[in-house]
Symmetry: C2
Subunit: 327 residues, 2 copies
């Protein structure tokens, strides 16, 4: 049985270089790589079991990077990804980035070190250099079409629908929560909403918010009613924010939906359990996760990808924080 | 440089046996292991880089098995685990078992194949043979003291508190949701509740439930009010079930908490956003995750474990689905 040392000697390179070729890690010049591969072939070199799996890229691990699993949007997404990956025998290495560049880079490095065969990332930092130099398949999730492979839902149309439904149902002084400026899907929704409101005859005002956290949502809810006590329609940036607003509105004795209509975004599972149950824009969250996994598996297998950017449709869920539409 | 073949020859065993010793996988007799280790020493055998990391057990991966990440209890738990592991440079391989034995076994196998250095499992199947033969550190989470290393909260006391608080606040016809019979923490709570109710003078009735799912919770909520329309206090098996009951009660026009008191279990983040906000028994979910990670890291490092079973305290969160306590 040939050793890695013999391979290195024949190829005229160091053992470390052979190891880099075997592991496909670090930089190796093309002609050096060729020499090593020829020596491996000539000596019929078989690396040991673990090294062989690396050589053949047989790892079954996929890295998954999410902003924060405690935001109820993401567990459903993760579940869709996992269910699809598991069917094909792939498994998840998982990390929360907290939308911090350092954490994100740290996780990407860890995933690569552990020989993941692909990466799914729900990130707002994709334009940074952290993804450019990676030589493995990557699918961006919940992100726009500027990425090579991405799965997202139609945020702009979702924002338009929210505005149209509130106007159609008679709100005339609408308050829009802008959503965190660094979260791209939130900004798409906001643009869609503003587009429709701008073309309409209703008054509207915008409140900027900086996160999707539970605690801050409560503070914004209070702020809305202090600043705009007579608003009769609120477009929230997600369902958690909408829940906090609904809570505050009921606390203040407002009649929902007669006096005030509220519309959320996402349709997380809890929204139908609120009372009154929350009208919202539904993203097909679980399906988005499944689609991302499907695209990634195709990339890993080297299959043809028919569509590299997959945009899923959103829809209005007509529950009880909005009134019946006028004919 | 010695090869694995030479090690096997000197030790008088097969290459596969040497590999098992190196990878610490599969069964190897103690004296065989000794022979192999002596041969390795004598020949100054250095496995290649990847094999060496296995030999030294340098993998930084920890397996995490949860029933279902879309149940809002578990993302908080996972977050606590991850935050603690990350501080020490460990990373998560993650799977949902759906409480199915086959899935659970499949994931355990995958974790072991990927050389995890430890395992955290929130399982209701720990008494099965699936964990016995594993030779790596395991911490059971959200499970009772029958396991060697476990972190859980005081479910029995939580169940007692829920019953005491409802009685103290004047409920006289209490309905108890039993919770899924295969979920051990749910059964502990139930036992605690029944213990207190049994010693009291109030009437009570029990409804059996089979899962913690959103959809089924709605059905049970309806069932309660059909069977026991005049119940004036409900002890739910978790916050999701309590949310569904609150929704149904408000739908039926019941005055909460004057006519009917409701108490949940868990204190997931959403519970404070309900209206009226949900009174509940708080489990320190995030802290439970952190504790489990701490115990596991100590086990991995071979440190002394002061306490192998960690029971965290629970507490009553007095919100607006319960009345003020009588003096």
């Amino acid at each position: 049985m040939a050793t890695i040392k013999q391979v290195a000697k024949l190829a005229g390179v160091s053992v470390a270089t052979v190891s880099r070729v075997l592991n496909d890690s670090g930089y190796v010049q093309a002609d050096t790589r060729k020499k090593v591969e020829e020596a491996i072939k000539q000596l019929d070199f078989i690396p040991n079991e673990v090294a062989r799996s690396l050589f053949k890229k047989e790892s079954r691990l996929v890295g998954l990077l999410l902003p924060d699993i405690t935001n109820p949007f993401f567990p459903e997404l993760a579940r869709g990804i996992e269910d699809e990956l598991q069917k094909e025998g792939y498994y998840l290495l998982f990390g929360n980035s907290d939308e911090k560049l350092e954490k994100e880079l740290n996780y990407i490095q860890t995933f690569v070190k552990n020989n993941v065969v692909g990466l799914i990332s729900a990130t707002n930092l994709a334009d940074k250099s952290n993804y450019e130099h990676l030589s493995l398949p990557i699918v961006f999730l919940d992100r726009g079409p500027e990425c090579e492979y991405s799965v997202f839902s139609d945020g702009k149309e979702g924002g338009r629908i929210a505005a149209r439904e509130l106007i159609k149902r008679g709100s005339e002084k609408i308050t829009v929560l802008k959503g965190p400026s660094h979260v791209l899907p939130a900004q798409e929704r906001f643009q869609g909403t503003i587009e429709v409101l701008g073309q309409s005859n209703v008054d509207f005002q915008v409140i900027s918010t900086t996160s999707f956290s539970f605690l801050e949502a409560k503070a914004w809810a209070k702020e809305i009613f202090e600043k705009y006590p007579d608003t009769d329609g609120i477009i929230a940036s997600n369902d958690i924010t909408a829940s906090a607003i609904l809570h505050e509105a009921l606390q203040q004795g407002k009649a929902i939906p007669d006096e005030l209509q509220i519309i959320g975004y996402d349709d997380i599972q809890q929204s139908s359990l609120l009372f009154p149950s929350l009208s919202t824009i539904r993203q097909p969250i679980y399906e988005m996760g499944k689609e991302a996994a499907r695209v990634l598996i195709s990339l890993i297998k080297g299959e043809m990808i028919e569509q590299s950017q997959i945009k899923l449709a959103v829809s209005f869920v007509d529950r009880n924080t909005t009134r019946k539409a006028k004919e």
